[in-house]
Subunit: 258 residues, 2 copies
């Protein structure tokens, strides 16, 4: 199966690896992109790690990647905030990846008087962080969320994801946040900007219909669903809009330069 | 305004006091109940304190009260769990009041293999507590919540209440809990059992239409809304079902023995 594209947006967990398990066909797929000098960008809803850490993890999995190949929802969120207000005062609930992305974009982290409340996954969550964020939202701060994933796959099972923690603030204040990560178009449009390509020149590759593929569909891109992760053929067959391409393994995809 | 009742169920915050501020008419109201030897029971959605602490706080506010005058949503929750399973294995997320109520009822606190996951307000919330609770719910434990209040009034403003913290688990697992506190009938029916009175012999007194009054309505009790707290006449005028009685202050209510 093939079609020529100038660039690839690629999901990580379930597509490039499964937790700590390698997916050899995915590694070969990226090596071939690199070989043919076709641009690729990993687009992830993981807000907790800076891109250098994500790239390091990929290299440990034998995937050719450096920092410039990684675009996280934290980076997209920091950029989105700049479009609302340059050097904004931000009340943040999240981990290192979100913090660094906000600071690199020139925003200021505050506890009171925030222009923006932004929340992502925070495994060091405290009641006080939630209380401060809620008070800032009630005082009129714009509420933004890195991503809506309600569950996080771990070796223990599915534990609460960013989207479920974020519901504390939305339920308590009655304010629904603007979500940035997949399946929203925001993160994909920014990723295309980073690559300098249009949605017609690029394809979105991922294992999760409800995040990766929907994000591609909403951006009017072609999409490639690989059945190595979350979504199953049985599920996808019941959905209104199909991915452009569906394959069992990335080895089935012949990379052709546009 | 008056009607004779054999017993009174009475709300606390907004009805007996406002935060640390006394409401003198409410104090006199309870003193008169005591004088006339009419049974009264304070029914509270506060799951964090044991009844002895609640009674101590009331006495400090000059309200005649001891432990037997207090019925908390934690006590109602512990009793409700016994109706599902005697001496249940319970994974708990909550504070001291909930913990003590569960232990007094003979339940066992566990981290894995729970029959029941119960959650209330927990201002020492951690991600690990939420993760364990979510894993127990996904493994089939019955999910129960002390109360659904989404916001908690404090001197800083409205901060997240039990209901918003609980949404982490409901959003993440897709399982909606059984709520016990007002406006549910469960807590009121149990309070009537504690008093040994029927719903026709008893009146529910409170300041909040959406919790106190609705709980009374759902239990087919008479209800007395006192406008010293959350609800306003303008709001209540728009609701389908009115309280039985509405007054500006408890001094307007003449207590008559049934």
């Amino acid at each position: 199966m093939t079609k020529a594209y100038k660039g690839y947006l690629i999901d990580l967990d379930g597509t490039m690896y499964r937790g700590s398990e390698k997916i050899p066909e995915a590694i070969e797929f990226v090596k071939e992109l690199k070989q043919q000098e076709i641009p690729y960008l990993f687009v992830t809803n993981n807000s907790t790690k800076p891109p250098s850490d994500v790239a390091k993890h990929l290299r440990e999995m034998d995937v050719p990647a450096d920092e410039k190949h990684v675009f996280t929802t934290s980076m997209a969120t920091a950029t989105y905030i700049s479009q609302i207000k340059n050097k904004a005062k931000v009340c943040m609930v999240g981990e290192e990846g979100l913090k660094l992305a906000l600071l690199e974009e020139g925003h200021e982290l505050v506890e009171e008087g925030a222009d923006i409340v932004v929340m992502g996954l925070d495994r060091q969550i405290t009641y006080e962080k939630l209380a401060k964020a809620a008070l800032n939202i009630r005082a009129g701060a714009t509420f933004i969320a890195t991503n809506g994933d309600v569950a996080l796959p771990t070796e223990r099972g599915l534990v609460p994801g960013a989207g479920s923690l974020i519901s504390v603030l939305s339920v308590s204040t009655g304010v629904t946040p603007t979500f940035i990560g997949k399946p929203e178009a925001v993160i994909v449009e920014q990723a295309l900007d980073v690559m300098g390509l249009t949605h017609k020149e690029t394809i979105m590759v991922g294992d999760n219909y409800h995040t990766d593929i929907l994000a591609g569909i909403r951006t009017q891109m072609d999409t490639l669903l690989v059945y190595t992760g979350v979504s199953t053929k049985e599920q996808v067959a019941t959905y209104d809009e199909s991915p452009t391409f569906e394959i069992d393994s990335l080895s089935e995809w012949n990379i052709v330069k546009s």
